[in-house]
């Protein structure tokens, strides 16, 4: 992959240079960069290693679904393992390093696992390590525990500090009529509509800027929208993730207060954990682009199409020179145009044949083609391609980047926290939210709407729904139908490799391959819950945001069923991981529990009492000076 910073484009401030280090190497980026965009600007391709096979991992996305670019930042007692480089804002003096690798992510001795990986299929550890190999002789747990020591050392991702966390955290509370999650076109429309009808509105956005996926658009102005929201009296909370929905419209938020600052104000908490009690919740949490499973689809240089657009228009970074885009839907063509205008040589493989695309012909479109295999180990050398019917390698394209779009999955996670199962929409090849009796409304692309006008309309409809349910108004409204592309999507989850022992990744971080799903099927682990537990699919840090649907579709295929018949996994809170420190707040150290004292407490202290804990009280145990010999002697004798 050859990624580079452009002189134009982006919402970064090229006048403000920020210095940071990556694996002790001094690099620089600009104000407004994410760690990921800064690494890409410096042409850093390998940023991590996978869990099991220690395969090189690059940056797959530009957001919370990231499962490759997990890095460690900070040092000593402020060391943070498993940070997503894609959502970490760059600041001056940031120290980042690769993890789960020795000596480093570029050259990792653990990489040997990749070559003996054929023995490490899903669930292999349930079948051995019990006794002395090869026939598992012996009894008891001794042999297992010897193996376990090695396994534990190899497992895990980043390594944590053992020193007490020096930062402080806060708990905060608020109330509102309507909380809107997400500041994309639909969320903003909903917030404005509700605020104009005099409701008390909170808008939360996990990013540092409002706009949602519009931030990946070239001509989008975030400040304009921000000011408009503010002028209506909406409480706008950026860098704040709505991580969970709980009973009675209670929302848990995590606000990252100082994680983006190089020298934070010491009076500020690092993060704030908010409990919001709302009367109505509107969720416009967007949709996440999926990848496609095919052989070697994890080589650094593979990325989702939308991520590349994001890097281009938000950060002014062109992520490749010779780019192949593989798609099964219409969402990629604007990006293809922009990438080629920015100077990349772009080829689009569209798995569909019977489609009409308006494009300015800056790039080649090969209809009816799919990616088949990537050649290369640490970087992409070329891509073998196949016709979408009758899968077989028929051509090779030299390239340094492969962008994937296997369709979009609405982020139905928050609704799932409420136990509401999403329903399958075969037309759009995705799960869309079901209705709920609770005061929760899903809007925008988290409802399966793909174009902006529909999203805005759904935002207004969502706000009207809230107003109706709160008894403020009684207005008719309707939601646009899911979809919105000119040509229908054609499901494409996996391009099956002809040779045995393929490495078609479904879950990037946990190294779950399409073959692992097939093995699980062969061994009878056919329900979603069994599949997940047996293969660990969707159990990594991204909780299956990208790979779950692909795993489901593979299983559906094997069972000759439709995806919804296989089932859906229940998403559990939090939507993105939340530090234990934030959940704890101020109740640390001596403040873990209140101290209760008797009226004699001070007297006891003054007289040198040795105090002991009795419930929440402290009481004197003994007075060492006067009674040292008798009492201590007796007590110590009694104890052991």
């Amino acid at each position: 992959m050859k990624s580079k910073r452009l002189n134009n484009l982006g919402k970064i401030d090229r006048d403000k240079t920020l210095n940071f280090t990556w694996d002790n190497k001094k690099l620089s980026g600009f104000e407004g960069d994410s760690l990921a965009s800064a690494l890409l600007a410096n042409n850093i391709g390998i940023v991590g290693r996978s869990f099991k096979y220690h395969r090189p991992r690059g940056i797959f996305s530009s957001g919370v679904e990231e499962s490759g670019a997990l890095v460690t930042i900070g040092s000593k007692d402020r060391r943070d393992p498993n940070v997503r480089a894609t959502t970490q804002e760059l600041f001056d003096g940031l120290k980042a390093s690769g993890q789960n690798a020795f000596p480093n992510v570029n050259f990792d001795l653990g990489g040997i696992n990749n070559y003996i990986g054929r023995f490490f299929a899903a669930g292999f550890y349930y079948k051995t390590f019990m006794g002395i190999p090869p026939f598992e002789w012996g009894k008891g747990t001794t042999i297992w525990m010897l193996f376990e020591k090695l396994i534990r050392k190899a497992a895990g991702m980043g390594s944590a500090s053992r020193l007490p966390d020096p930062d402080s955290y806060e708990h905060a509370h608020d109330f509102c009529d309507v909380i809107v999650v997400g500041s994309g076109p639909s969320g903003v429309a909903a917030a404005i509509e509700a605020a104009e009808k005099k409701l008390d509105v909170i808008l939360v956005e996990q990013d540092s800027l409002v706009g949602g996926n519009q931030l990946s658009e070239n001509d989008f102005s975030t400040s304009e929208i921000f000011n408009q929201l503010k002028s209506l009296g909406i409480k706008v909370m950026t860098r704040t993730t709505a991580f969970g929905l709980y009973d009675n419209c209670v929302v848990g938020l995590l606000e990252r207060v100082t994680d983006h600052l190089s020298i934070p104000d010491s009076t500020l908490p690092r993060q704030r954990f908010w409990t919001i009690r709302a009367k109505h919740i509107i969720v416009g949490s967007g949709a996440l682009e999926r990848h496609i499973a095919f052989n070697n689809n994890d080589i650094p240089g593979v990325m989702t199409v939308n991520a590349s657009k994001h890097y281009l228009n938000r950060y002014g970074v062109l992520t490749g020179e010779d780019i192949v885009i593989a798609t099964n839907n219409d969402s990629v063509y604007e990006t293809a145009n922009e990438l080629s205008e920015a100077g990349a040589n772009v080829t689009v493989l569209d798995s569909r044949t019977n489609i009409e695309i308006d494009s300015n012909k800056n790039f080649e479109i090969r209809k009816g083609f799919v990616p088949y295999n990537i050649n290369g180990t640490k970087k992409i050398d070329s891509l073998d391609i196949s016709k979408s019917e009758n899968i077989n390698k028929i051509d090779t394209i030299n390239c340094d980047q492969v962008l994937l779009s296997g369709g979009w999955s609405p982020a139905v996670h928050l609704l799932s926290h409420r136990g509401v199962k999403p329903k399958w929409d075969p037309e759009n090849a995705c799960f869309i939210p079901s209705d709920t009796k609770e005061n929760i409304t899903m809007i925008g692309s988290s409802r399966g709407l793909w174009n902006k006008d529909d999203c805005i309309a759904s935002g207004v409809a969502g706000a009207t729904d809230a107003l109706n349910r709160l008894g403020v108004s009684k207005t008719n409204y309707f939601f646009p139908k899911p979809g919105g592309w000119k040509n229908p999507i054609k499901p494409l989850y996996e391009v099956k490799y002809k040779k045995s022992r393929s490495k078609s990744f479904v879950d990037y971080q946990h190294d779950v391959t399409a073959d692992d799903v097939r093995l699980a099927h062969r061994e009878g682990f056919i329900s979603v819950e069994h599949l997940k537990r047996y293969t660990t699919l969707g159990m990594a840090n991204d909780q299956g945001k990208m790979g779950n649907i692909i795993g489901l579709s593979l299983m559906a295929d094997l069972l000759n069923k439709e995806i919804p018949e296989v089932g859906t996994t229940v998403f559990r809170p939090p939507y993105t991981p939340v530090p234990i420190g934030a959940l704890t707040g101020r109740n640390v150290g001596k403040h873990f529990r209140p101290l209760r004292v008797t009226p004699m407490h001070q007297w006891n202290i003054d007289h040198g009492a040795k105090m002991i804990e009795v419930g929440l009280y402290q009481r004197p145990w003994y007075y060492p000076k006067k009674m040292k010999h008798s009492v201590i002697h007796i007590l110590e004798k009694q104890q052991l």
Partner: protein, 94 residues
């Protein structure tokens, strides 16, 4: 968070309250058999669905409340004071 609408304090988090348990239990007379007493003290319907239960607003007005709540969805249908006299007061103030 379950939000309980205390008739005195208004809607509050359930963490302000202490859970009392099944409110449908009727204790028998003192002379009743051991079997009856065992049934009253130890045996429960353990309803899956809406049930009557008591909550004590221990970090609030300290009133004992009778709450009709679903044990599946946690939805609350009604809240009223346990004490019949207080019930009347609340009714009269409506």
């Amino acid at each position: 968070m379950i939000r309980i609408n205390c008739p005195y304090c208004g809607e509050r988090d359930h963490s302000e309250f202490s859970y009392g348990g099944d409110a449908s239990i009727k204790y028998p007379s003192l002379e009743a058999s051991e079997k009856e007493w065992t049934e009253a003290i130890f045996f429960r319907k353990n309803i899956r669905g809406f049930q009557l239960e008591t909550w004590h607003h221990s970090n609030g007005c300290r009133m004992w409340l009778e709450v009709e709540r679903s044990t599946v969805t946690h939805e609350i249908k009604s809240v009223r004071p346990c004490h019949p006299d207080l019930q009347k007061v609340v009714e009269n103030n409506k």
